[in-house]
Symmetry: C2
Subunit: 324 residues, 2 copies
């Protein structure tokens, strides 16, 4: 059996796994904290060790496993043709030749793509968006990323920047975003901004179990805390999740009107909010988007929690190999 | 030489022309008011007469001209596979079998696509977006439409609804749009809404030559009036055009971040405002969109004023024929 090593480099975690060529199996999956603050060579060393461990474990499990190469998902913007990370503030990388480094250190051919693109491609290949021609994925974490599968292919645009869904303006005069713009979707619905909106509500004196969950230290509230409180029925947390659904719904409705996809896959911790998120999200989208676009499209959570990026990175390598 | 008859059915005007197979020439171009209020059979009769006149004139000019077929651009939503206009409120059409009617009446093979898609395809084939792989067109008239050329092909989405750029939300709590949503780009920057914003400003008592231009009858102010006043240096009209540029800039910046196109072509009467529109439009886009997406993309007016839809409709026929 032939395998591809998939690597997902996130600001928080590194994840690896050997993916069967037909997407039917994942071996040696492992993850470790990124610890970007330790410096680039340290991050690369640990990534290489994690990757080598994964390959060894796969070869133990499948003695005749052939490793075709490596696919890498990395935070962008990237130059996929040259295999370079142009800029990654979280990792402290500028014009970083990641593909060549991976090739040299692992002795395997490597291909590179954006982390959000990889997550969406993974969900499209073997997850919640399989068997579609037009799919959009939204990844919600520290930021909001996205990827587009159009006519059955990952769409990159003119210069690999396509899919920056998180930086679509949903309110011309809205909240300032870290990107410098105002009113970006990310400024409302990313993990940290979900937490910020909860803290803002608490600071007005609203009642909630959230304060007790962090022993009164509001700075410790994360999006995760909000989802847990919402699942437990906390009114304020439910309102924050509901507002999140409305903001996301505005952004997703725009995508439905412009792309007319068959499926939108929402990935990331936010899916833990379950129906508390998806019911108002679908309602907001139905309210805002064109009826034929709404009728054509499912809005679903990702199915490959944690490994979508690994599957997608492996697929990036396979597609590049097929087109070479 | 081989030709295709292009037909552009608008809410205001019908336009026809015979387009050379290679896009190098247009013969017998003619237009007439649509007069939708006269009823469907009257509109169809006049459209057929206009088309027959165009074919005759082309055959007079080019005696050996061969007419391969007819491409039709019509207001959507459409079902392009079945050749049906699903809904056109302006024309009073529901599930209207336009392609079959054109085939029967003209005795020529016909293909159908959305009017905004045709305009963009025309600009991409022989106009301002030629020689690109990724292009977006925005048509600004009574409404705001759009079309997407992705990887060198018109993109339709899952159910022919793709490209509805005018109904992207730019302000979650904004102006009510005719589509039922709030804060759509169209609710700010369509022709009628440009006029409405000018009238609203005048009603606050602002000084402007606009009032004199319509002899004090503010209901007669159109977007055209505003462009003319702006060209003459009227401060209020310039402010309305400048605001239009900011609204459009928000919508276009979103498209840059998501599609990363090489060119955005702005079509319609609004281009008459010239630099008064395009200078602040480019500034707003540069302020809001990602730098690499901005660097990759030109923002330009259409070059085929009035006939983009005819060229594009002809190309729709040619492409369908090539794929048949």
């Amino acid at each position: 059996m032939r395998y591809v090593l998939g690597i997902d480099i996130g600001g928080t975690n590194l994840v690896v796994g050997c993916v069967a060529e037909d997407g039917s199996a994942l071996h040696g999956s492992a993850s470790a904290p990124t610890h970007a603050e330790a410096g680039t060579s340290d991050v690369v060393d640990r990534l290489v060790a994690l990757a080598q461990g994964c390959i060894e474990e796969t070869r133990r499990a499948i003695p005749d496993a052939e490793i075709l190469g490596v696919g890498v998902g990395a935070p962008g913007p990237l130059d996929t043709h040259r295999g370079i990370v142009l800029l990654s503030p979280n990792l402290g990388w500028v014009n970083f030749p990641l593909r060549q480094i991976i090739r040299d250190r692992l002795g395997l051919h490597a291909e590179l793509d954006n982390d959000a693109n990889c997550a969406v491609l993974g969900e499209w290949w073997v997850g919640a968006a399989r068997d579609t021609r037009h799919a959009i994925g939204i990844t919600i974490g520290t930021g909001i990323g996205g990827g587009l599968i159009l006519d059955g292919k990952l769409y990159h645009g003119a210069s690999d920047v396509a899919g920056e869904i998180g930086h679509a303006t949903i309110d011309t005069e809205g909240r300032r975003c870290k990107c410098g713009n105002y009113g970006c979707l990310e400024a409302y619905a990313s993990g940290p901004n979900i937490a910020i909106r909860a803290v803002e509500a608490l600071e007005t004196g609203a009642e909630s179990r959230l304060s007790a969950m962090v022993n009164g230290d509001l700075g410790r509230i994360t999006a995760q805390t909000v989802y847990e409180a919402a699942q437990a029925g906390d009114d304020l947390a439910l309102e924050v999740v509901n507002d999140t659904a409305r903001f996301l719904g505005t952004g997703v409705a725009n995508l439905l009107n412009v792309f007319n996809p068959e499926v939108v896959v929402v990935c990331g911790g936010v899916t833990q909010a379950g129906d508390h998120l998806f019911v108002p999200l679908r309602r907001e989208i139905a309210r805002r988007a064109f009826k034929p676009a709404v009728a054509a499209c499912r809005i679903v959570p990702g199915e490959l929690s944690g490994t979508a990026g690994v599957y997608g990175a492996a697929k990036v390598f396979l597609d590049a190999r097929a087109n070479a």
